[in-house]
């Protein structure tokens, strides 16, 4: 019985992807992926996802450190707040970002009047939306990994005279290395695939905010072959990420 249910569950997850590959117009997939609109979307997606990863590392790793090591009260609340964007429906995330950062929101208003910056409908807006939904992945993964590192390692390093930065870079980071790399891959992939928050906050401007998932959505309205070709492209990238992870993400979560 369990075997039968398990098999059905597996089929449910596998069949749609197999159908996508089987029904793709393989004769035109490469030319579609090479079309100017597709290349533009691909480049934009690549730039934004990478920028998102860098920002997530700069701000997310310290946050993970605070969550893992701090003894101050309120860590549970902070952890919940940091995890929330991960479970929030992406379009809701987009609306929340609009409420804060549009020209009429509290933060957006200041940015616009003081610095003349408008985040909506801009590449920066795409990066902001992707960071909002993807950074929690890095935070959670790194926090779990840090939690598994024995604090004695760091204490010994401090005893031997290394400052906190040296300890982090040369002792802690190598130990959590695999989990950190897995977290980075997941964060990058999540940012690449983001749709709801991006289209709500940054709109759909070719060359500026039309990332690959948005291009797929638009293509679906008029050219199914193009939409499927772009989907194959995204599928290939996702598979590459999974193969690169080689089960390490599961390992990090289990630790």
């Amino acid at each position: 019985m369990a075997g039968a249910l398990g098999l059905l569950g597996g089929l449910l997850l596998v069949v749609p992807v197999v159908a996508l590959v089987a029904r793709a117009p393989w004769g035109t997939v490469l030319s579609n992926l090479g079309s100017p609109a597709a290349v533009q979307a691909l480049e934009l997606s690549g730039i934004c996802s990478t920028a998102t990863l860098i920002i997530s590392i700069i701000f997310g790793v310290p946050l993970a450190w605070v969550l893992a090591r701090s003894t101050l009260p309120g860590m549970r609340v902070l952890r919940a707040a940091a995890t929330l964007p991960m479970v929030l429906p992406p379009v809701v995330g987009g609306i929340a970002l609009l409420m804060a950062f549009s020209r009429y929101g509290p933060l957006g208003r200041v940015l616009f009047s003081v610095l003349g910056i408008q985040l909506t409908y801009s590449i920066a807006g795409v990066i902001l939306a992707e960071t909002f939904v993807a950074m929690p992945f890095l935070v959670i993964t790194v926090e779990a990994a840090l939690g598994a590192v024995s604090p004695e390692l760091e204490e010994v390093s401090a005893t031997l005279g290394a400052g906190p930065w040296r300890t982090f870079l040369f002792v802690t980071l190598p130990v959590i290395g695999p989990s950190f790399a897995a977290g980075c891959a997941l964060t990058w992939a999540r940012a690449l695939g983001e749709f709801g928050a991006t289209i709500t906050f940054a709109g759909d401007i070719a060359g500026r905010t039309q990332t690959l998932p948005l291009a797929v959505y638009l293509a679906l309205q008029r050219d199914e072959g193009l939409a499927v070709s772009l989907s194959i492209g995204l599928l290939a990238i996702s598979l590459a990420v999974l193969i690169g992870l080689r089960g390490r993400w599961l390992g990090a979560v289990r630790t």
Partner: protein, 270 residues
């Protein structure tokens, strides 16, 4: 990968539930001394799904509330979205008893595929209008002024409002650079880019401009640059409740239906 896609909006109106608003609709069309139920045939029963263009998302439910006076117990479910997308999903088998499209070109493939019962009938038409932020801060008074806007929202070209907007821009000789245009899947989302988002202007229908008076400023487009689109309505051949479907089509063409469309900003079928 986590791609969540916005769904077409669905609204379910039980005709037996709301009565009060119906008075408003019926009230504005008491033309002289014609009989109390002149335009709707004998009460129809059951339920139907009406697939309709986004631009009808306010006037059709209002009409449904008015029809409650006669068709107690009948249920009409509305499926609003871009006409192009709706036509594609109906061709692919999506259930719809009636299809009201914002362009003849969206209905045509269904007619040639034999999916329409009888004829498709034009019941209204709509023209384009520019909307800007309230107070029109950028001073946009014509299509040519749109180049002043930082971000202009347009419908995707597969939606009638997108195709007609492109045609109007060509007529006016205006070319908007790609980096200035954000594309939305249907006219309501396009309008929302201005009313709730940060887009400076959008090209939508006259009916959208009319219904957003508090949240956006309408800028009319002169006739020589404007493009009018005709709305056809038809009963679908696969409908399981053709009598209620036909009743709805008749009702929309009736004086009550036409008056409601007129006060929403639609023009008679061209």
């Amino acid at each position: 990968m986590n791609i969540s896609e916005p769904r077409m909006r669905r609204r379910r109106w039980s005709l037996g539930a709301v009565a009060a608003a119906g008075l408003l609709v019926c009230g504005c069309s008491t033309v002289g001394s014609t009989s109390s139920s002149p335009t709707v045939p004998a009460p129809a029963r059951g339920s139907i799904t009406v697939a309709a263009a986004s631009s009808l998302s306010k006037v059709f439910p209002a009409l449904a509330r008015g029809a409650d006076k006669v068709h107690h117990g009948a249920t009409i479910t509305f499926d609003f979205g871009s006409s192009g997308t709706l036509a594609t999903s109906i061709s692919a088998g999506a259930p719809a008893d009636v299809f009201a499209s914002a362009a003849l070109s969206s209905m045509a493939p269904l007619v040639s595929a034999g999916l329409v019962a009888g004829r498709s009938i034009p019941f209204a038409s709509n023209a384009l209008e520019i909307i800007t932020k309230p107070g029109n801060p950028l001073g946009i008074h014509a299509l040519s002024d749109l180049v002043k806007a930082k971000v202009v929202a347009l419908c995707v070209v597969t939606a009638p409002c997108g195709a007609t907007a492109q045609a109007a821009l060509s007529k006016a000789g205006v070319h908007l650079p790609e980096g200035q245009v954000t594309v939305a899947p249907d006219v309501d989302t396009t309008a929302a880019a201005v009313t709730t988002g940060d887009a400076d202007a959008a090209i939508v229908y006259v009916t959208n401009a009319r219904s957003e008076t508090g949240h956006a400023q309408g800028v009319p487009i002169p006739k020589k640059e404007n493009v009018v689109t005709t709305y056809p309505i038809a009963v679908m051949a696969a409908s399981q409740n053709k009598s209620l479907a036909k009743a709805w089509v008749t009702y929309v063409q009736s004086p009550i239906g036409q008056a409601a469309l007129h006060s929403a900003g639609f023009s008679p079928a061209a």
